[in-house]
Each structure stands twice: as structure tokens, then as C-alpha cells.
Symmetry: C2
Subunit: 247 residues, 2 copies
DNA sequence: CGCTCGAATATGTATAGTCATATTTGCGAA
DNA sequence: TTCGCAAATATGACTATACATATTCGAGCG
């Protein structure tokens, strides 16, 4: 008998049932009441407890698997997963948005711009330049007229031919790429260096000052799009990674 | 008519149908064929194209929403989402595992250990100490006998009372906590500093050398568990964040 | 006593239908 | 012409059912 009238039980929390089931189980896991390895009740049991169909329970369980909170094994049942080693979500922000969020005036100063072939100086140049050459951009991000970050970028002209016509006095190369080359994958390496003479001059720091360096490479469909090295004054800036167990 | 025999169409890719639908759509989005804002075919259309029930299409779509690739609006339809600003998944690895993965000998040297109340020196101490005092641990991670990272940690004794009895010659405080206090949330701040005299001595660096600093705070159910500051030699170490659009 | 094989079982995939809900669209009235 | 309301429509939630598949468990055999 199809009885979809039970869909909404008024006065008992308006959320969809599968979400409530999910939340109930998640709560017990996060509180520690159900430790890693603990068996989650069988779908048939939960189905009885909540008075719903198995598909509804299953949907909740699937979401918990997706969130990495449980693992399911056929015939055996579902179990609370072992927490994974830290994998926080790092926010590498749009520098312009970040500065403006602080209420400071943002500007990007283009220092150098060149279209050329790979010269093999930096690793990965060959990959980027394949079949179209590359655009090299050097610039400084300013906050309230003071240097905030230094950026050296290579862009594959094959992956983004339109970028040759772009005007970077209004828009950063990063923002342009985000807008025009969608859905990329990226890898960032974060390290620290002592400012050499050039970096110190451009960022208005003392030579030897610690700087935070983000080296990012970006691909689309497996082909290199851009490679950028951003240098921040170490003590004035920090990256924040937030983490709720996931992926 | 229930016709579940179609479940597996041999010789046409063994993956479940909803996964194939998902992959097809994802491919078109990632390739750029369907730009942000483009409307995804209606569920009824896809249902016809793939010759399946609406629930199956819906399952594929739900997964795409979860992955952040599309947004769905009632009455209006489903649309390719605008790519989000970078939110890569950062791997803050278990230091011990990392060193051993390189084939080097790992050791943790405990330098100082003290049970005390909050003295308000570091921000957030009061929160951690609430209702049970805290354990302060200083130590050095060694790789092949050479210092690899410096660690200064505070642990809430209320959140982890058993840690008073732990032996940190075999296991790092981080590993102990991971094993005994499950499913935490965390926030990491990453910055760069110049080594002061003490850091330089402990890490065997020159004074002033650039170091990468990870400041991590961890909660469970909203209550502070631990706060740790790890200092790495800047040029010898880097964090890697990988990114496939998500979260 | 140990090992293999078959039965039991819990999850996984899929269907066809029903009712709910949020928008959008277009029609009609002010 | 514009504003407001009603109808149309696409997604969202859920049920009941059917069959697939991977494991585990135990019975029976060597």
C-alpha cells in the first residue's frame, strides 16, 4: 500500500526523514557514543525504528558513507569508520576579495608581461607551452598602496588563448582564469623561504625575512593551464584550513 | 512492469547506471562543453535517453549536487554550477608516517611535560583548561637522528583524561589523540616565521632561517581538545594541497 | 580437525508509482 | 501597463517490490 501521507509529520521537525536519520546517526558517531568499529543497526532495524521504507534508510546511509563516517559491507553490515588522518579544506582565497573584505583598497601592478616559448628554466614549462607557447606574467598585489603579495605566473596559451587580450589593470590574472577557464584541478605546495634581495625590495621587507610561498599548478582535463608562485610576507599573512572529517 | 533484469547490460561497461549517467554529465561539465549556467537536460529527458526510471537519474543528479558541479531548482531545472574559489584538500600528514614513508628512522623526543592550569599566556588556554586543567607537551620529531619538526602542544585534560598515563617515547601525542579522541574538527593556520635562537638550536638551523608554522586547534563537539604549534624548516618541507572541485 | 561448498543474509541497484513543494509563467483584473 | 493570483511544471521525498552480489556462517565431508 502506498502511504506517502506520512511524508511530513507536523510538529516533529520539518526536515526530510532521510536527513533526520542521517543526523541522528552522525550525532551518535561524533559524540563518541558509537566508537570506530561499532556496528550501526541493520537497515531493517532502522526501517522499523523510523517506520519507513528501506530506500529511505539507505539514502541516509549512503550520505554517511559519502561523508566518510561509516563503511558498509555486504552481508556484514555497516560500521563506524576509523577517522582519517587530517585532510582539512584549505581556503586559498582570491587575493583581491580577501583584501577588499578587510576594507582596504586593492590594486594589481603588472611588472612584466611576455609571450614566449618554453626555455626549460622552470620545471613544467615544457608541459605548459606544448602546442602554443606561454604567457609569463609578473606582478604585485597591493593593499592600500603597500605590497601584499608577489606573483609570478605562466599560462598555457593553448589552454587559454584569449588571455593575450586581457587587461590586468582591472582584473588579476587569477580572477581572469577563474572566470574563463572553468572547473580545473589544482595542486598547491606551501613552503617558507627567506626573502632574497629582489623579493625583499618588491614586498618592502628586510632581506632574509620569512615569507610564505604558495606554488600552484592547475590542469584542465589533464593538460596544464597555469603555474603560479605567490610569495606573502610570512608574519602578516596566514592560510587557514578548516576541517570537518570528510573526503 | 518491474523489469529489473536490465540492471546489468553485459558488454556495455559494468558500472552501475547511475554512476555512468553521473560520469557522462560530469565529463561534459569538466570539458567545458556545458559552461557554468548551462541547463542540464530535464530528468524526464535523461530518463528517456538512458531508458531508466526517474529515481536513477535523480540519484546521479544528487551526487553531482553533492560534488558541487550542479545546482537544482524546482520548477526551473538543473544548471551547471559556477566554479567555487579554490578550496583544495590539504594533507596535513601524520609526521611519523611521513618520515617512515621516506624510509628514514623516526623518533619523538619529549623535551618537557607539565600538568597545569591555564596561565593565560597563550590565547585559547582558558577554553582548553576549562574544568580539568591541561597538559603541556614540548617535543621534537627526528628523522634519521636529525630534527625534522618542533612541536608545542596543549591538551585539555577534560577532553582526554587518559593522556596523563600515555608514554610518548613510542607514540607521538598527535597519534595518541587520533587514536583515543575520534572525530574531531580542526582549524589550521599556516604561516612563516624566522627562526629565533631557541628554534634555531632545536632544529639545527641558522638563526633567522625561514620556517613553516602550522598552528592547529582541535575541537570535539564544540569543546577544545588540543592546540598545537608545529615548526618545520621552511625549505626542507612543504605541505601539499590537492584539489578537485568539491565541498 | 580442518577445509570446502552451499545456504543465509545484509547491502546495492533499479523500477513504477504517489504525493509534496517551490517556482515560473501567463492570464486576468485594477 | 502592471500587479497579483492561479495553473503548470520540474524537482524532492517516499513507498513497495524485485533481483543482484558479496560475505559470512555453518553443515558435512575427507
Amino acid at each position: 500500500m502506498t502511504d506517502a501521507r506520512v511524508q511530513e509529520i507536523p510538529g516533529l521537525g520539518g526536515a526530510p526523514l532521510h536527513q533526520r536519520i542521517r543526523a541522528d546517526i552522525e550525532g551518535r558517531i561524533r559524540s563518541g557514543a558509537w566508537p570506530p568499529g561499532h556496528r550501526v543497526p541493520f537497515e531493517t532495524e532502522l526501517m522499523g525504528q523510523y517506520g519507513c521504507a528501506r530506500m529511505t534508510v539507505s539514502k541516509a546511509m549512503a550520505a554517511l558513507v559519502e561523508a566518510g563516517l561509516i563503511v558498509r559491507r555486504k552481508r556484514a553490515g555497516s560500521f563506524v569508520a576509523r577517522p582519517r588522518v587530517h585532510a582539512p579544506v584549505l581556503n586559498i582565497p582570491d587575493i583581491q576579495a580577501e583584501i577588499e573584505a578587510r576594507g582596504e583598497a586593492y590594486a594589481f601592478r603588472l611588472l612584466a608581461r611576455a609571450v614566449r616559448e618554453a626555455d626549460g628554466a622552470a620545471p613544467g614549462e615544457l608541459e605548459l607551452a606544448a602546442g602554443g607557447g606561454l604567457l609569463a606574467l609578473d606582478g604585485v598585489h597591493d593593499a592600500d598602496g603597500r605590497p601584499f603579495a608577489l606573483e609570478r605566473r605562466l599560462v598555457s596559451l593553448k589552454a587559454a588563448p584569449d588571455i593575450e587580450a586581457a587587461d590586468f589593470s582591472q582584473e588579476t590574472p587569477g580572477a581572469w582564469l577563474l572566470e574563463h577557464v572553468a572547473w580545473t584541478e589544482a595542486e598547491s605546495r606551501i613552503s617558507a623561504i627567506n626573502a632574497d634581495a629582489e623579493v625583499a625590495r618588491l614586498l618592502a621587507l628586510d632581506e632574509g625575512a620569512a615569507c610564505l610561498v604558495v606554488d600552484r599548478r592547475t590542469w584542465r582535463e589533464g593538460r596544464g593551464v597555469t603555474r603560479v608562485r605567490q610569495v606573502f610576507p610570512g608574519e602578516a599573512y596566514d592560510l587557514v584550513a578548516r576541517f570537518g572529517p570528510r573526503v
